[in-house]
Amino acid sequence: MASILVSEVMTGTYEFEDSGGDSVKNLSEAKVDVEYTIREIETNDNELKSFLFTLGCYEGETVTVISVLAENYVISVKDARYSIDWELAKAIIV
């Protein structure tokens, strides 16, 4: 119990450092040009999850939103740019 609390506090402070106090939960709410650390990929779709993994998009890795175009987000993962849609951005918990 105590350990869960600690970890929550820790991630809380981590977010604080990253996003400047915003309570950003997933990538769809993320600010442009701020580096976030992925906490979880929230989806029932295991295939999608493992696909994202092979791109280097998984827990612990960093991701940056480069721009928001209409309903798509341009993100930078590892050294590549990807365009993802809003649903997918929502599934990436940071």
């Binding site: 779709d45 092979t54 791109l55 998984y58 209409a70 590892k78 740019r81 990807y82 849609d85 997918l88």
Partner: protein, 666 residues
């Protein structure tokens, strides 16, 4: 000896394959161009050993675990066919992702040579990679390559290295052999460790001056080109420019010269034949073969200019942005963002486009995409567009541009209808697409692509088109008693009697004459046949006037021969573009859909769509231009109403199905 080319999507495998084998396979600056493996022998000047080496180009993969079927092609090939050496093409600008796959490849026990491709891009970004250290860390040779360059590209070194390592053993730097693959958790944990290992290598060998997650000029360009509101107008402007250059300006200029040669050939043959030759034979040779094929080939310069421009677009990386722009609309109608790739490929030829639907996992989306891809105007439809734009609309670039956007609009409408009929509108899909870096398009690559397509066009004209034209000529010369049709009694010919029943159906569309019906029918064999058949049945030798240095400046003549109003001509053009594609494309649809019901549903849908679009264009256009409705309005209206009614019925049925599904799950 067999070498497999593997690597991440868009790392340049096919470009390298073309460079080392001298083949001309389709390349584009976006992920997922290659969908099937391709084989070729390595060029002699790169291969000094004298042993025959076969290179196999495989579709891109991010890892050994298959997510899409083209990724599993790669995995199956590497695992089952035991290539002697694997060349792993690594995108030097994205080491940390690419090496994940490299470490997996190295576990297979087949010698691996890493080709550090796109190293020129790294120099521009001031990123340095220590090749020696990388080679040591991986335990396999690493060669810097720039496969887009002609010389000094590292390819010779790469091939000789590949020959050298054949049969030698390498130790995988990261080994996961002891892991139980049935246990998903363990695999995940192992893969995470693999990534950690890769990251540690990268941090050691890569010296990156500019971090990749900072805004660049490219990102600024993305924000404009893929903008919410500007994206589509920019795409429209780009397409308009492409058509304007190919169809209104540069194309006709070249076409005139070219048509002059064809005319010369015609006149020369006519002179050679002289007077004594039987009119049947001379008209078969002159009007059927030379005239018909010449009419199609006359458009070759226009098409080559167009292909050249499209190749430039594909090469610079813009197409991936178009996919992003379109995703928004496609998602609304239940297609995935991936559906765009087949459609972009479909602008060249519908068949590879339909085959590219394989990358779509969702069965309904895959079948819907396969059914709708042929609505994109393919290369074979361009002569038809060019003919009508030239004859009736004074070479206007808007005709071609409109046809492209009509195609897109029909695809969106079609997808909307299909998703309602299947009752799966609640299905969700995710869209993720790699955005390749923009680059200055290569004139050389575009030229090669243009020449290879031009060659294919000529081959087609010399085979299928030629045979069809000869057949059409024979069929219109004779009647069913095999007697020569008398002048003035053309409607008794075999061709006329076959085509006439169809022509009746086309009266409400404004072009109910047997000649046009016959051309539309031969169009199902190959769309260029529409042009060829029209030339044969109206004995027009040339649609391009050489005298006045303008494409079809005698357009008024051609138009009067055909007896069509501009509106009816536009309706006829649309009918030909938006009915089912050629038989070869239908065969491809059959292969990818794997379902009779879907195939026949798709074909009927395409027929219905062509009919309705042509009907509306003709009737509304006639109403606007003349103030009264066109001929056969009532009958046509009933036919269209029945078709629309049936679709509505199916949609309602589909809705009920969807509601039942909801109830079931609730």
């Amino acid at each position: 000896m067999k070498i497999a080319l593997t690597g991440n999507p868009n790392s340049g495998k096919t470009t390298m394959f073309n460079a080392i084998t001298g083949k001309i396979e389709h390349v584009g600056n976006w992920a997922g161009v290659t969908i099937e493996k391709k084989e070729g022998d390595i060029k002699k000047n790169l291969n000094k050993t004298g042993i025959e080496i076969t290179a196999v180009d495989l579709p891109g993969a991010y890892s050994m675990s298959p997510f899409t079927s083209e990724e599993s092609i790669t995995r199956d090939f590497v695992k089952n066919e035991n290539p002697d050496v694997i060349i792993n093409i690594v995108d030097a600008t994205n080491l940390s992702r690419s090496l994940f796959f490299t470490t997996q490849l190295m576990e297979l026990g087949i010698p691996v040579v890493v080709a550090l491709n796109k190293s020129d891009l790294n120099e521009k970004k001031k990123t340095a990679i220590n090749v020696k250290a990388l080679s040591k860390a991986l335990g396999c040779p690493v060669i810097k390559t720039i496969s887009t360059k002609v010389s000094d590209n590292g390819l010779e070194a790469l091939i000789s290295k590949a020959v050298e390592v054949k049969g030698k053993s390498q130790t995988a730097p990261y080994d996961s052999k002891r892991i139980d693959f049935a246990n998903a958790k363990a695999v995940e944990a192992s893969d995470k460790k693999r990534y950690e290992f890769v990251n540690s290598i990268v941090s050691n060998v890569e010296d990156r001056k500019v971090s990749s997650n900072h805004q660049t000029k490219q990102d600024a360009a993305d924000r404009i080109l893929a903008h919410k509101w500007f994206g589509i107008p920019i795409f429209a402007a780009v397409m308009w420019a492409v058509f304007s250059i190919s169809q209104t300006h540069l194309g006709p200029l070249l076409a005139d010269t070219f048509a002059g040669w064809i005319d010369g050939l015609y006149a020369w043959t006519e002179g050679m034949l002289g007077e004594g030759v039987s009119p049947i034979l001379s008209s078969l040779l002159l009007d059927g073969i030379i005239g018909g094929v010449g009419a199609v080939v006359g458009f070759l310069p226009l098409i080559m200019v167009l292909f050249f421009l499209l190749a430039l677009l594909e090469d610079c990386g813009y197409m991936a942005r178009v996919a992003v722009v379109m995703d928004r609309f496609f998602k609304r109608v239940g297609l995935s963002g991936k559906s765009i790739i087949p459609m972009v490929i479909g602008t060249g030829c519908a068949i590879p486009g339909i085959m590219a639907t394989r990358t779509i996992k969702n069965e309904r989306q895959r079948r819907t995409t396969a059914m709708l891809t042929p609505f994109m105007p393919c290369g074979a439809k361009l002569p038809v567009i060019a003919l009508f734009a030239g004859t009736f609309f004074d070479d206007a670039a808007w005709v071609g541009t409109t046809m492209y956007f009509m195609g897109i609009a029909i695809i969106i409408l079609g997808a909307l209808i299909v998703v309602r009929i299947t009752g799966e509108k609640n299905a969700r899909s995710f869209f993720i697409m790699e955005l390749p870096e923009y680059r200055f398009p290569s004139i050389k690559r575009a030229t090669i692509s243009m020449l290879s397509r031009g060659k294919a066009f000529i081959i087609k004209a010399g085979t299928i088109i030629l045979l069809c034209n000869a057949a059409v000529q024979v069929m219109q010369t004779f009647n069913w008693q095999f007697q020569v049709v008398a002048e003035g009694a053309e409607s008794t010919s075999i061709l006329a009697s076959i085509a006439s029943p169809f022509a009746i159906l086309l009266i409400p569309l404004g072009f109910g004459v047997w000649q046009l019906a016959a051309a539309a029918i031969t169009g199902f064999i190959a769309k260029e046949n529409v042009v060829g058949t029209l030339a044969v049945v109206y004995s027009i030798t040339n649609f391009i006037d050489t005298e006045e240095l303008a494409l079809v400046s005698g357009g008024a003549d051609v138009a009067s021969v055909m007896g069509l109003t501009s509106v009816a001509a536009l309706a006829y053009l649309m009918f030909n573009l938006f009915t089912p594609p050629c038989f070869a494309a239908i065969g491809a649809m059959n292969a990818e859909m794997e379902d009779r019901k879907w195939l026949w549903g798709g074909i009927s849908f395409q027929f219905g769509m062509g009919y309705v679009v042509a009907f509306l264009t003709y009737q509304i256009g006639t109403l606007i231009t003349t103030g009264s409705l066109g001929t056969g309005f009532i009958t046509g209206f009933i036919a269209v109403a029945v078709m629309v009614g049936y679709v509505v019925h199916l949609v309602i049925k589909g809705n009920n199905k969807a509601q039942q599904k909801l109830k079931m799950s609730a």
